[in-house]
């Protein structure tokens, strides 16, 4: 399915969807189609790291994957065993209390799933206590907090403090992401890493899981 992978990587939306339909009609399994998309998005992610692709390409690639999922979804039998790649780790994600920005978070969600993580996305404006309670229940390997506004520093710090209180801090890695994140914020918040773009965040996550 190299032609499908190329179409996605080259941002050719209509061509990619036409190829999806062609392959499905020819009897290709839905899972193989989605694997092709995952491979394509991996290439898109690498091009982002290399400074060839940027936010428009990440967004469009995500949309193309969503469109393909919509076509594929009805064909995936519910009693079929989950043939997806074995999950390499669990990732709890949300935009912290007080902040409603979600574009970066949604990109992280998509890329982390493609890279084999089980993602629990709490949405935006997530109350501190909820972040903590969900961490206790979900038992993630990594907690990812997103925030664009400077008020997110305080919310993120409170989440980390709460994780310490409930005995989770030593069990997880904490990563913070957003336009104003830097080493000062990271130190104040008590996170393990800070990033200003989604792809770098995924790299940290993979490194922590030994991949």
């Amino acid at each position: 399915m190299q032609d499908l992978i190329n179409a996605v990587v080259d941002m050719k939306e209509d061509e990619a969807l036409a190829l999806v339909r062609k392959y499905l009609e020819a009897g290709t399994s839905p899972m193989q189609v989605m694997d092709a998309y995952k491979e394509a998005l991996g290439i898109v992610g690498r091009r982002f790291e290399e400074g060839v692709y940027f936010v428009p390409e990440l967004i469009l690639a995500g949309e193309m994957m969503k469109a393909a999922s919509e076509v594929v979804k009805p064909l995936v039998k519910s009693d079929k065993p989950n043939a997806e790649t074995q999950r390499i780790g669990k990732f709890l994600l949300g935009t912290v209390q007080g902040d409603i920005h979600d574009i970066g978070k949604d990109m992280v969600h998509m890329l982390m799933e493609i890279n084999g993580f089980e993602v629990k996305d709490l949405g935006v404006d997530v109350p501190t206590r909820r972040f903590c309670d969900e961490a206790l229940e979900f038992q993630p390997d990594i907690v990812g907090m997103s925030g664009l506004l400077t008020l997110s520093f305080e919310s993120m710090k409170q989440v980390v403090d709460c994780l310490k209180e409930v005995g989770m801090r030593e069990k997880v890695k904490v990563i913070i992401g957003g336009g104003q994140m830097d080493e000062h914020a990271c130190r104040y918040i008590g996170a393990d890493a800070w990033v200003v773009d989604a792809v770098k965040g995924v790299k940290y996550a993979l490194k922590w899981m030994g991949k």
């Binding site: 940027f54 936010v55 336009g179 000062h184 914020a185």
Partner: protein
């Protein structure tokens, strides 16, 4: 109208307008000392911008929105519901922090007006967010892809009859209003006039009337405090604001997600739309500057930052229309002050295209040493101080970082000490350390 204005070059017009602003003409000063202080502060900024000579010291202009409110112990909600609180904070902040230009107090805006309009474009304290938080933009695709042609053909008509109804719930009925054009002749004026009388549209117009009345009352209350602040010797950091056309389209109309995909799906429409917006943004900036007798026009830059698009995409979609707005403002004697959010490390060479000494760039996450290298002697630069240190650091750390920044960026003039983010929060001890270090070590 100033004699010979039309024949002047952009630089000449800017000199006239800046000189008028820096003189404090028209301001009732508390005393001669306040007048001298105002002229001194505005003069520092004028010298930094024009690059003709180094000012006596680096002008210090932290850019803020809600931070002064929080610093003086009020909640964002209190400020958004009482203009006297904004006014008192404006006076106290300007004097206590002794900045060289103070914040644009009217940007705090007035909650009751938003309630009457059914304003959906932002969440504001007590309406969707906590009372201690400043307002937050609710970005969505308010403009659909099929709307491009209408927007391009007639932005005002689109704004009034499509965009208002989608963003201000009290104005939803305006979607039923026909366009104005029939009013050109009496026989054709009927449809518009009659529709104006339809009960839902009457209610929408009443909401507008009430919003206007409340806003007028609000600015009447806030105005004297602004006058008093000027009279105490503190200029305001801008007289008007406008936007890069791509940001206008991306922030308030298509939304980031849809617009970024439009670069692939309908690039020609994007180009037509941003070009169509250029004259609107110029007239918005010029009109505000003239009305407030302050040539500085604040332009926050959003979606062209490093990482948001490639240099090729920036060159094609973002830069040309922004450059036209910057040049258009300068042609009218205004001084564009771009607030460059995010990083512009990959874009500095574009900014270097602009004429000498006609605009200023306040940076956020751009490497300031590089900014100095590329833009020093061409355009005034500023900012580059991390807001994270103001919020999480110590006074000592702030002093050290400020000195490093001055060494890297202040050069032999053409630098404004500022913080890279329009602050909604701050801490007194770190902000004071920032300002005092600037005054102590920022002398030329």
């Amino acid at each position: 109208m100033i004699e010979g204005w039309q024949k002047m070059s952009a630089s000449q017009k800017q000199e006239v307008f800046l000189a008028k602003w820096a003189s404090g003409e028209g301001i009732q000063f508390a005393d001669d000392e306040a007048k001298a202080a105002y002229q001194h502060r505005a003069g520092l900024i004028k010298d930094a911008i024009q690059l003709k000579k180094a000012p006596k010291r680096v002008p210090i202009v932290p850019v803020t929105v809600f931070a002064p409110v929080m610093l003086f112990g009020y909640s964002a909600k209190q400020a958004m519901y009482d203009p006297h609180i904004i006014g008192k904070v404006l006076l106290d902040y300007s004097r206590h922090y002794d900045v060289d230009a103070t914040f644009i107090a009217p940007m705090i805006m007035h909650g009751p007006v938003l309630e009457v309009l059914g304003y959906d474009l932002y969440k504001w304290p007590g309406h969707g967010i906590r009372e201690d938080q400043g307002y937050q933009f609710v970005e969505k695709a308010y403009m659909q892809a099929e709307d491009y042609d209408h927007f391009i053909a007639d932005p005002t008509d689109y704004w009034l009859r499509v965009w208002f109804p989608r963003t201000h719930s009290a104005l939803k009925p305006l979607a039923q209003m026909p366009p104005l054009y029939g009013t050109m002749e009496l026989p054709m004026a009927g449809p518009w006039l009659c529709t104006l009388g339809a009960p839902p549209i009457q209610e929408a117009l009443k909401a507008l009337l009430e919003a206007g009345r409340l806003s007028f009352e609000w600015i009447q209350a806030l105005g004297p405090y602004i006058g008093q602040t000027f009279g105490s010797g503190y200029p305001m950091c801008a007289g008007a604001a406008t936007k890069a056309p791509f940001d206008t389209l991306g922030d308030s109309f298509r939304g980031t997600t849809e617009l970024m995909m439009d670069l692939y799906r309908r690039p020609d429409k994007v180009l037509e739309a941003v070009d169509r917006i250029v004259p609107l943004m110029i007239s918005m900036g010029v009109g505000g500057a003239m009305a407030n007798n302050n040539p500085l026009v604040f332009i926050p830059l959003h979606k062209g930052a490093d990482g948001f698009m490639s240099n090729d995409q920036f060159k094609k979609f973002y830069w040309p229309s922004l450059k036209k707005v910057i040049l258009g403002l300068a042609e009218n004697g205004c001084v564009p002050v771009c607030f460059v959010e995010g990083g512009y490390n990959q874009r500095l060479e574009f900014l270097a295209e602009l004429p000498h000494g006609q605009c200023a760039f306040i940076f956020d996450r751009t490497d300031m040493a590089r900014a100095r290298q590329v833009l020093g002697g061409k355009s005034c630069i500023g900012g580059g101080f991390p807001v994270s240190l103001i919020i999480t650091g110590s006074a000592g750390e702030v002093e050290e970082e400020t000195r490093k920044l001055l060494n890297a960026a202040a050069g032999d003039g053409g630098y404004i000490l500022s913080i890279g983010c329009a602050m909604d929060e701050a801490r007194e001890h770190t902000l004071k350390a920032f300002i005092e270090t600037g005054k102590k070590y920022g002398k030329y």
